[in-house]
């Protein structure tokens, strides 16, 4: 029964949450806090804040942790499966169709037409990260970190792994 509830609790946010994992957080909260009462609002907020200090997708971190708390290892598996599987299956099906007609001029036109929109979505996402940074550490640090990471990543083509690790060290030393 608990596994079925876990499945439902994460299946619903996974199928109606548009806009990537972070967008489905309020939906997860609705199920986990309001419907099933596995966590209180405070605990959920705390968990979300802690999850955000770790790398990686947030929706699966929340699903894995809550599933584990509620139903052990199998609970974690069920919650993760419910989060990931439905949209992934739809994706494989649709892209399979698309690949079949890869050489059709209409599909080519589609690829071309959506590209500026995708660029804008990514650009807006980038803008949000800059705003967060500006509000958190101020203009000077934001401009410095942006300039430095731009040079390292784009001009000198350093692998992002090193740039990210460097930023973590810089933050620990100078932004604490």
């Amino acid at each position: 029964m608990v596994y079925w509830h876990l499945f439902l609790a994460f299946f619903i946010p996974g199928t109606v949450g548009y806009g990537g994992g972070p967008a489905s957080i309020p939906l997860i909260q609705k199920e986990v806090v309001d419907r099933y009462g596995w966590l209180t609002m405070e605990e959920f907020g705390e968990l979300l804040a802690l999850g955000n200090t770790l790398p990686g997708p947030i929706a699966t971190k929340m699903a894995g942790y809550i599933g584990y708390e509620v139903g052990g290892l199998f609970g974690a598996f069920v919650a993760l499966f419910a989060t990931v599987a439905p949209s992934l299956i739809a994706m494989i099906f649709l892209l399979g169709l698309l690949n079949k007609f890869k050489n059709s001029p209409k599909v080519k036109r589609m690829t071309a037409l959506i590209r500026p929109t995708i660029a804008v979505l990514l650009g807006v996402l980038a803008y949000q990260f800059f705003v967060t940074s500006w509000e958190g550490v101020g203009m000077v640090q934001t401009v410095f970190l942006t300039g430095a990471s731009f040079l390292l990543l784009e001009k000198w083509k350093i692998h992002p792994a090193y740039v990210i690790l460097g930023a973590l060290v810089y933050g620990a030393l100078f932004l604490s």
């Binding site: 955000n52 997708p57 942790y65 974690a76 494989i92 071309a112 990514l122 996402l125 940074s133 942006t146």
Partner: protein, 211 residues
């Protein structure tokens, strides 16, 4: 089963997951780097289509991309491998470190680390956005790309039209709309071909010089 491919899949998605701060979308440029630049499993065009379609579907974006790319590269096992590499390490970290994190959350060191990451992620996303726009300009020309870009920006950022609707609408229009673009399309394809040969000649020249 090709062990090397599976190792590459795991390493690629492990790196992208473990280095992505700020939720799944922050990992998109990292996945692009691994999939298109390092391992060359697909072209920019294919990555573009996957990202676009992923955005029209519900659910977390990174696992959709990992799962699909894993599937394309190495079948069902590849799918499982890529998902596990994306999700499992961070979930294990979360379960193992939650108590530890709770006691250190307010520590200025941890907060400083988190803050320093945001501009780096911003730069990576911006670079990816630029590369999409540049490709778009090559395919559609400046004017169409800019118009589409500006319209998308207004619709998404200022009018808050849902991205799924925006992309979904463009896909439907492209697939079922009138085919007035077809003539233009062949024109631009020819142009692109010309550019290709020019580029290649340029490379040959360079080679000659270096030889």
């Amino acid at each position: 089963m090709d062990l090397k491919t599976h190792r590459d899949l795991f390493v690629g998605f492990f790196r992208a997951g473990m280095l992505g701060y700020g939720g799944g979308p922050a990992s998109i440029p990292l996945i692009h780097k691994e999939v298109v630049q390092i391992y060359k499993w697909m072209t920019d065009e294919e990555f573009n289509d996957i990202l676009a379609l992923g955005n029209t579907l519900p659910g977390p974006i990174v696992t959709k991309m990992a799962g699909y790319i894993g599937y394309r590269v190495a079948g069902v096992l590849g799918l499982i491998n890529a998902i596990v590499a994306t999700v499992l390490p961070t979930v294990i970290l979360m379960i193992a470190l939650i108590g530890f994190l709770a006691s250190f959350r307010d520590s200025p060191v941890v907060q400083g680390m988190t803050k320093a990451i945001a501009p780096v992620v911003g730069v990576m996303l911006l670079a990816l956005a630029y590369s999409f726009f540049k490709h778009s300009q090559q395919g559609l020309g400046w004017s169409v790309s800019i118009v589409l870009g500006v319209v998308s920006l207004i619709a998404y950022h200022f009018l808050h039209v849902h991205p799924a609707l925006l992309i979904g609408g463009l896909i439907v229009y492209a697939l079922f709309g009138k085919e007035y673009v077809s003539a233009e399309k062949t024109g631009s394809a020819g142009e692109k071909g010309d550019q290709g040969t020019v580029g290649r000649q340029g490379e040959d020249k360079q080679k000659d010089i270096s030889v």
